[in-house]
Symmetry: C2
Subunit: 475 residues, 2 copies
C-alpha cells in the first residue's frame, strides 16, 4: 500500500511554482507543455476507459480463481501463473517473469482468551512474521499502554514477565493519514515490548472498523532482541480487554499461536511492456503488488490495484500507435512481508540502460480517486497541470508535489525516480485492510472505471510528453 | 428475536376500529381511556428515562463481565448469577430464579475449503444444533440451488451424495421482514437436503452484511430423516462458491466440523416483580432472553434487550407508588436453541392464578424504535391510542394491530395473551445478527435511551390503566 503520510497543502505553492516554471520553460531543454493533440488523445482515452473499462472482471478472476496468495505459498505461485496467462490477452509486446526469492511464513492458528477477571474468548490473529507461542501457550498478567510512546517510556519492572497490550486507536481519514502513526505499534511494538522483558505483545488492530475481525500486517523484529509472539485483536476485542481493567483486578490473557517462519521460497515479479515507439529505453513504470495477506481474498489489497493497471495497459495497447516511451507494468512479489520483489526489480534495473522516467503505483484500495499528487521536478509542473486538466472532469482535485508514491516504487524513488500519485478515497479502506473482510464484495465496479480512466490518461501523457519529470525532489 | 413478518398496513383499519371502539366503549366493562393523570405520569416517566437512562451500562456489564453465554455453558450459568446480582439493585420487590433444563451444544471448530476447481479456504460456521462431520471431514461435489424452494423441487438424483449449497440472499429492510423468508433454508434446509440424499448442507448466511463473518442460528432436524452437518458461509464466501461454477467444471468442497450435542444442562429463567398495589395477580410481563450465541458477545442479541428492560424496571420502581398491576421482568433461558425457558415459564404460569394481562418483549436489536404495534382486542384501542400519543414525541409512528410479539412470549400469546410491540429499526441489525460482529461496539447509547423511554411509558400505562387488553386477536 502507498505511504499515507499526511500531505501538507501549500495553497500558494503550486501556482507560484507553476508560474516560475512557465517563465523558465524556454531555458529548460527537458520541460514542455503537452501538445494539444496529446491532451486530446488522453481525454479520449479517459472517456473510453470510463465507458468500457472492466477492471472488476480481472479482480473477480484473481480473487475467485486464485484467492488469498501470501508470498511463497502455493497460491502465490498460482497467482504468478494467473498473471502470465491473463496478461497475455491484453496486448503487451513483451511479458516475462523475474524470479524473486521470498521468505514464506505460516499463520497457523491462534487462540486468545481472557482468563481473569472475567473469562471469555477473543478474536485475534498473529501479526505477519511473528513467531508462535510454546505449544502450551502463554498465560500471564497484562499491562496496558495507551500508546507505543507510553510503552517506550515504561520502566522494565512494569513490563517484565507480562503480556503488553497497546490500546492505541487508529483515526479514520480520507487520505488514510491515520495509518502511518498507528502502524508503528505493529511494526516496532514487538521489539520495544521484548526489550523491556514482555513475554508477548497484543495490539488493538491497526484499523478503523467496529467489526470483530483482526487486522494482520507485518512486524519487524529488531536485531539482538528476543522475538516474542505478537497478535492483533479487533477494536471490539480491544474494548473487551480494556473493560476488564475497570474491575481493578489483575487482568490475564491466554495466548496460543502456531505461527512460524518457513524457509526461502520462489516467487516472481511479472514485467510486461508496451514498447515505446521512439524512446523504448525510457520507461514509465506502473507498479502493483500481486501477493496478498491470507485472511481475505486480497481484493482491495491488491487485486483491484493489479486489475486497474491491467486494464490501463489494455486501453493503452488499444491506441492506434505505440507511445513514445515504454509503458511497463510490474506486478511485484511479496510487498506485504518485505518488498522482496521491489528490491529484486530495482537491483536489476540499476544494471540496465533503461531509465525510469516516472512511476505510478496502484495500491491504495478501490475507493474513488479524489486527488492527484506529484513528486516531480519543478520544470515538469506544466505537465502535471495538463494532467490535472484531464483528471478534473473525473472529480479529481489538484493536490501538491508532496507525493512519495507507493511501497514497491520506493526503491526506485530512493534512487531519484519521480512519482505520480492518484489518491483513492481511503475513508473506509482501513475498515477492511489486512482483514478477512478484504473481499470483492466491498468493491464498487464504477469506482474502478473512474480509476482506470485516471491512470490511463496520466500514463498516456507521461509516456508521450516531450521533456521529462526530472529527479524526485530532495527536501 | 421477535417475529419479523411483514406487517401489512391498513390505513383505514385503525381509525375505523378506533371509532367503533369509542362508540362501543360504554358497553364494555373492560375498556377505558387512560386518565389524564396516568398519561401525565407516563409522559414524565418517558422524559426522565430519556434524560437519565443508562441501559448501555447494563449491556456493557453483561457483555464485558460475562460475554457470550450459550445455553447450558459455564458462561450461561455466569449470566444467571450476573442477573441475580444486578437485578437486586434495581428496586424489585421479588427476584427468583426458575430452573430450566436445556440441551447444551458445542460448536467446536469448523474448516471449509473449496478443493476444486480453484482451491481456497472459506470462512464458515456450523449451524446451531448441527451434528459434526466424520473426523476426516467430507469432500464431495457441490450442487447449487437458488433457493430452498428450488431444492424442494429437485430430484434425488441431482442431490444424492452431494453437498447442497443454497445460495438464497436475504433482503435488507427496516422492519426486518427479509428474515422470515430467508431463515427457512437454515431451519428446514438440513432435513430437506438430507431427505434427498445430500451428505451435508452449506447455506449463504441468513444476513445482509458484506463482511466475511458467517451467521449462525438454529436448525431443526425433522424426525426420521438422517442428520447431516450444516454450515453457513458469509455473503462474500457464498459469492466465491458461486463464482467457481462459472468455470463449468465440477465444484467440490471440503467440510470439517466438530460440532456436537452435549447432554442436558441446568439453566434458569429469572423472574423479577414490581408487585402491583391493587391487582397483584394481574401481570404485565416484559420478556427478554438472557442467553446468546457464542460468536459475538450477544450485545444486540440480546444484552441490549435485557438492559432496556432492566432500566425500564428501574425507572418504574422509582415511581412514587407501585403500579396497580404487577410489572414482571422475565429473563428467559435458551431462546436461541429451543425456547426452553419460554416453555418452562408458561407451563408454570398455567398452574398459577395470576393472569398475564399483556406482554411486551425486547429482542429486536438496539436500533432506534420507529413504530408501535399492538396485538390486542379492539376494546383496548383507546389505550393503544393514548400510548401512541406518549410515544409520538420520541419519533415513533403508529403501527397497526398485527403484532405477534417476540419468540419468548409466543407460548403465552398462543394461550391468548395480547401483546404490545415496539419495533426497533432493523435496517442494519441483520448485518451482525448471530455473528461475531454482535458486540457492544455496534450499539448507540442514545438509541437505548429512546428505547427505555418508550418501554417505560407503555408499560406504566399498561400496568395502571382501567380495563384490560382482552385476548390476542384470532384471525
Amino acid at each position: 500500500m502507498p505511504s499515507f503520510a499526511a500531505s501538507p497543502r501549500h495553497p500558494l505553492f503550486r501556482p507560484l511554482l507553476a508560474l516560475a516554471a512557465a517563465l523558465l520553460a524556454p531555458a529548460l531543454a527537458t520541460a514542455a507543455e503537452p501538445s494539444a493533440r496529446l491532451v486530446k488523445e488522453a481525454t479520449e482515452l479517459r472517456d473510453r476507459a470510463l465507458a468500457e473499462g472492466n477492471a472488476w472482471q480481472h479482480a473477480w478472476s484473481l480473487t475467485t480463481e486464485v484467492g488469498p496468495r501470501p508470498a511463497g505459498s502455493a497460491a502465490d505461485r498460482a497467482a504468478v501463473a494467473w498473471a502470465l496467462a491473463n496478461l497475455a490477452e491484453l496486448g503487451f509486446d513483451d511479458i516475462r517473469p523475474q524470479p524473486v526469492e521470498v521468505t514464506a511464513w505460516e499463520r497457523g492458528t491462534a487462540e486468545v482468551r481472557i482468563t481473569a477477571p472475567f473469562p471469555q474468548p477473543l478474536v485475534a490473529t498473529a501479526l505477519g512474521r511473528s513467531v508462535g507461542t510454546p505449544e502450551a501457550g502463554i498465560e500471564a498478567p497484562v499491562v496496558r499502554f495507551e500508546s507505543l510512546a507510553e510503552l517506550e517510556a515504561a520502566k522494565p519492572e512494569q513490563v517484565r514477565g507480562r503480556i503488553v497490550f497497546i490500546d492505541e486507536r487508529m483515526e479514520r481519514a480520507r487520505d488514510g493519514s491515520g495509518y502511518g502513526p498507528a502502524v508503528q505499534k505493529r511494526s516496532r511494538g514487538p521489539s520495544v515490548a521484548a526489550e523491556r522483558g514482555a513475554v508477548a505483545l497484543v495490539i488493538r488492530s491497526v484499523g478503523t472498523s467496529n467489526d470483530r475481525v483482526a487486522h494482520t500486517g507485518g512486524l519487524r523484529y529488531a536485531e539482538g532482541i528476543p522475538r516474542i509472539p505478537a497478535f492483533a485483536v479487533s477494536n471490539p476485542d480491544a474494548d473487551l480487554i480494556g473493560g476488564q481493567f475497570a474491575s481493578g483486578e489483575e487482568v490475564r490473557l491466554y495466548l496460543y499461536s502456531s505461527a512460524r517462519m518457513l524457509g526461502p521460497a520462489r516467487s516472481a515479479n511479472i514485467i510486461a511492456d508496451i514498447r515505446g515507439a521512439e524512446k523504448p529505453d525510457e520507461i514509465v513504470i506502473m507498479g502493483a503488488h500481486l501477493d496478498s495477506w491470507d485472511l481475505g481474498t486480497g481484493a482491495q489489497d491488491n487485486a483491484t490495484g493489479v486489475a486497474i493497471l491491467m486494464e490501463t495497459a489494455r486501453f493503452i495497447a488499444m491506441m492506434p500507435g505505440r507511445p513514445a516511451r515504454t509503458v511497463r507494468l510490474v506486478l511485484y512479489a511479496n510487498e506485504e512481508r518485505g518488498l522482496d520483489g521491489s528490491r529484486t526489480y530495482t537491483a536489476a534495473a540499476m544494471e540496465s540502460e533503461a531509465r525510469h522516467v516516472v512511476g505510478i503505483e496502484a495500491d491504495g484500495g478501490a475507493g474513488v480517486i479524489y486527488r492527484f499528487d506529484s513528486g516531480v521536478a519543478e520544470h515538469a509542473f506544466p505537465v502535471i497541470e495538463a494532467m490535472q486538466g484531464v483528471l478534473e472532469p473525473l472529480g479529481i482535485e489538484a493536490g501538491d508535489n508532496s507525493a512519495i508514491g507507493g511501497a514497491d516504487l520506493s526503491t526506485l524513488r530512493e534512487r531519484g525516480m519521480p512519482v505520480l500519485s492518484l489518491r483513492h478515497d481511503a475513508t473506509e479502506y482501513f475498515d477492511l485492510h489486512h482483514t478477512a473482510n478484504d473481499t470483492l464484495a466491498t468493491v464498487d465496479p464504477e469506482a474502478l472505471k473512474q480509476a482506470v480512466a485516471a491512470y490511463a490518461a496520466v500514463v498516456w501523457i507521461a509516456a508521450n510528453v516531450e521533456g521529462d519529470f526530472g529527479e524526485f525532489p530532495k527536501n
